[in-house]
């Protein structure tokens, strides 16, 4: 006699299966979207003015928030290491860990997250509104390809702008650590700078730039994908915005881990 299969594990398996299938389908759709955008981005017509506008929007207008984040984090980092590491040779560990921490990890991740919060949400909201008010349809009837006109400039701008912003954030963060160390912790400026220079490596800077470009890609991709695929009215736009921010946060942190492991593992 065949024993009846208990219903609960079966249901659980089915649920997990659906989740995995759904996730894979999603990855497939996003990948197709990304490839379409890249192909359209490299073939004419191009929209240089749109690209410039997006660089301003993503890069320039994010600088204040990125700068503030960096200076606070760099200073706090210096204080933490000083307090926690004073048993060791603090005068060399503080500048070294500020440099490592900012360049390798905090600079790219914090810039990525701040810009994701500011930009991915704005992209999703703008494109989502255009979708639900039929502006995207109107664009198509006016002989304009929304991938080339709307998506490609955002994607390219984010990939170009993020590395520059991360370099700026790293510099500001290191400067924040320097200022706190000199004026509050009583470090010697010359030797602090010398140690900083000693621990600042090209490989780390290069990795920060790579991470930043990847994060920029993720931010624009998630913002645009969720915006373009908005369904329903105002509530749909709200959901697209939330999804864009949450998914870019998760993907930024995940890809940061992957890149770090690949580079140092």
């Amino acid at each position: 006699m065949i024993k009846a299969i208990p219903a609960f594990p079966l249901l659980a398996f089915a649920a997990i299966g659906r989740l995995v299938v759904g996730l894979l389908a999603m990855v497939g759709r996003v990948t197709k979207f990304a490839l379409t955008t890249i192909v359209r981005a490299v073939t004419p017509p191009y929209y240089p003015a749109r690209l410039f506008a997006q660089i301003m929007e993503i890069g320039w207008f994010s600088l204040p928030v990125v700068g503030l984040t960096a200076i606070f984090t760099g200073s706090a980092l210096a204080q933490q290491i000083y307090t926690g590491g004073s048993r060791f040779n603090a005068s060399s560990t503080v500048p070294a860990i500020v440099v490592f921490g900012m360049v390798r990890e905090l600079g790219p991740v914090l810039v990525g997250l701040m810009v994701a919060g500011r930009v991915a949400s704005a992209m999703a909201a703008e494109l989502g509104t255009m979708r639900v008010t039929e502006q995207l349809d109107a664009l198509a009837t006016l002989r304009t390809d929304s991938y080339r006109y709307l998506i490609a400039p955002r994607l390219v701008a984010a990939v170009l702008a993020l590395p520059v912003m991360v370099l700026i954030a790293n510099s500001i963060g290191i400067m924040g650590g320097y200022l706190l160390s000199i004026y509050k912790l009583g470090f010697n400026p010359a030797s602090y700078l010398a140690t900083t220079r000693q621990f600042l490596e090209w490989d780390d800077i290069r990795m920060a730039v790579v991470k930043a470009a990847v994060f920029g890609f993720i931010i624009a991709l998630m913002g645009c994908y969720n915006g373009l695929h908005t369904r329903g009215g105002a509530a749909g736009v709200g959901k697209a915005t939330t999804d864009a921010v949450v998914s870019s946060f998760v993907l930024i942190l995940f890809s940061d881990l992957v890149i770090t492991i690949v580079a140092f593992g």
């Binding site: 502006q135 349809d137 109107a138 198509a140 009837t141 006016l142």
Partner: protein, 254 residues
């Protein structure tokens, strides 16, 4: 209807579903070059969906749609882009670009959003706005600074500015006062008569349908249940059409 000519637009057994809901259930319609056809039908019967299918903004589940004899269902995106160049479309909700001023909206079909020849473009915008009864004072305003009826007319100006061969009007006179509405009727009539444009207009306004259309088609339950010359609209002999054009609550349409 002339025979032997390739129809400008030809829909054959077009089916469109959204999930379980079958909105278009085998639509057959053909529009000759230079003809003006009005589509009437209840709210939510799929009139706007029909236009979007013809523009390949929605993809039918089955059936065929030919523009000048060229099939667009399943066509490549480059091919679709080429065919779309023949169309102008007035969306039901206007669908103006709220990030740009009126004059750039109106000339978008010519500039594709680029800032080229601004002086000439403003002039073209002014001309087209004049045709829909709007003045130059709104050129620099944003769409959200306009009234609903003004937005509709700006959208109309945007649809006609590139001088397309085929124009779709999705409820062009809804939300307009009677005088403006009649002005739009005259505009559509003159586009068809003087410029040889092929027009497909969705309308709930029977007097407008009789004025602008050579032929009227009625969409009901996912199909074109009746079509005929505009003079027959009030003696079609079709109980559905009768009920609809007379606006009676009792009849075969529940």
């Amino acid at each position: 209807m002339a025979t032997g000519m390739t129809p400008k637009i030809k829909l054959t057994d077009v089916v469109k579903r959204f999930g379980e809901k079958c909105v278009l259930d085998g639509v057959n319609l053909s529009v000759e070059p230079g003809e003006s056809v009005a589509i009437i039908g209840g709210s939510g019967t799929g009139k706007s969906v029909t236009l979007k299918c013809i523009l390949a903004l929605l993809i039918p589940d089955s059936g065929s749609i030919e523009i000048d004899g060229q099939e667009i269902v399943g066509a490549r995106s480059s091919e679709i882009a080429r065919i779309r160049a023949k169309f102008g479309m007035l969306f039901q909700g206007g669908a103006l670009f709220d990030s740009m001023p009126v004059w750039r909206n109106v000339t978008f079909g010519l500039t594709q959003g680029r800032m080229r020849e601004p002086a000439r473009m403003r002039h073209i915008a002014e001309e087209n706005l004049e045709r829909v009864g709007l003045g130059r004072d709104i050129l620099n305003l944003r769409p959200n600074e306009l009234s609903g009826g003004m937005q509709k007319r700006v959208a109309l100006a945007r649809a006609i500015a590139p001088r397309p061969e085929i124009i779709f009007f999705d409820e062009p006179t809804t939300g307009l006062d009677p005088i403006r509405a009649d002005m739009i009727n005259d505009l559509i009539t003159s586009l068809v008569k003087d410029l040889g444009v092929t027009a497909l207009t969705i309308t709930h306004d029977m007097s407008s349908a009789r004025k602008i259309a050579d032929r009227v088609a009625m969409l009901y339950n996912g199909r074109i249940i009746w079509h005929g010359p505009r003079d027959r609209l009030y003696d079609s002999g079709n109980p559905y059409v009768d009920q609809f054009v007379q606006g009676r609550a009792d009849g075969p349409i529940r």
